[in-house]
């Protein structure tokens, strides 16, 4: 058994292999399909509250440093200490440099299927931090994107709209 505590270090080795041999993007989509099992229904039926509820569980079980700010129409997820990247970095096998890509790789398709809009700032592949804004209205999402681009002009923002 790979302890659940050590899954991300195994995951990191899977990413290295797939990056070298092909299939990493397809794997992110496979992860996304599996994650639908855990969260898509809640996201669809409860919208931003469903996302909030899911990340309350994740914050507890994965021991995240995660601040959440819920405002009308917009939920911010502010990861101040990502346990996943932290473990992948605290690892004698070394970090896959695309490690962080798995997260937007799975969440963007799930949010799209749920009818939600996300703006994602990874902030850096060697920093266990990221910031995302999830919105339930397309026009508001476009407006938020402009605001974020103004305040973070150098950020490479990912989005699903």
């Amino acid at each position: 058994m790979i302890p659940s505590d050590h899954f991300v270090r195994f995951y990191n080795e899977v990413f290295k292999y797939l990056e070298a041999h092909g299939g990493l993007e397809d794997y992110f989509l496979a992860i996304s399909e599996q994650q639908e099992f855990h969260c898509l229904e809640g996201f669809k039926t409860k919208g931003l509250q469903g996302v909030y509820d899911y990340y309350v569980k994740i914050r507890r079980e994965e021991n995240c440093g995660l601040d959440m700010v819920m405002e009308p129409g917009c939920l911010q997820l502010i990861m101040t200490n990502c346990p996943s990247l932290s473990k992948a970095m605290d690892n004698d096998a070394g970090l896959c440099l695309r490690y962080c890509d798995h997260c937007p790789g799975w969440v963007l398709p799930v949010y799209t299927k749920a009818g939600l809009y996300i703006i994602y700032d990874l902030m850096g592949y060697d920093q266990p931090q990221c910031h995302s804004w999830i919105l339930d209205n397309l026009e508001q999402a476009k407006q938020k994107l402009q605001e974020v681009q103004k305040t973070r002009p150098t950020a490479k923002l990912l989005k699903n709209f």
């Binding site: 058994m1 790979i2 302890p3 659940s4 505590d5 050590h6 899954f7 991300v8 270090r9 195994f10 995951y11 080795e13 899977v14 290295k16 292999y17 797939l18 041999h21 299939g23 397809d26 794997y27 496979a30 992860i31 599996q34 099992f37 855990h38 994740i58 507890r60 079980e61 994965e62 021991n63 473990k87 605290d90 690892n91 004698d92 096998a93 070394g94």
Partner: protein, 149 residues
């Protein structure tokens, strides 16, 4: 002393993610790809355990088994003698969780045990074998290749 010693809550859904990863790699890249990845986990991620075994020191392996099977609340026994370490798992917590939540169980799932164990022991005075008794039940043995004088 353990190189990795996590505390706090557990996210057991990662066992389902392990199952998916094993199937994805085996189906897309074949059995050898899976072996390569698991070998890297056994020798590089668990480099500390592997390096100690190379020096005929099984202490971290024993601590690893005891700590993480306890942490996952497995139903198990761990028996240690000078010549052999035997882990009897009566209910694998990973498989139990996958079955509980209703995710698919990879047919390769137990290779994540057998091949990582084998990699940790590779080139060391220790060998390993695992008998799968039933789903979620196994006996993992680590034993000295030559009896210590």
């Amino acid at each position: 002393m353990l190189r990795y010693r996590e505390t706090g809550e557990l996210h057991k859904d990662f066992h389902g993610s392990t199952s998916l990863a094993l199937d994805f790699v085996a189906e897309r890249h074949g059995e050898d790809a899976l072996t390569e990845i698991l070998h890297n986990v056994g020798t590089k991620v668990y480099a500390s355990i592997h390096q100690k075994l190379l020096k005929d020191d099984p202490s971290e392996l024993i601590e690893h088994l005891a700590y993480f099977y306890n942490r996952e609340e497995a139903d198990f026994d761990l028996e240690v003698t000078d010549q052999e370490i035997t882990l009897r798992v009566r209910q694998c917590p990973a498989i139990a969780h996958i079955r509980k939540v209703g995710l698919p169980l990879s047919k390769c799932f137990c290779r994540s045990t057998t091949e990582i164990n084998a990699a940790m022991c590779e080139g060391t005075p220790w060998a390993t074998e695992t008998k799968i008794l039933a789903e979620g039940q196994c006996v993992q043995r680590f034993y000295r290749k030559e009896k210590k004088a």
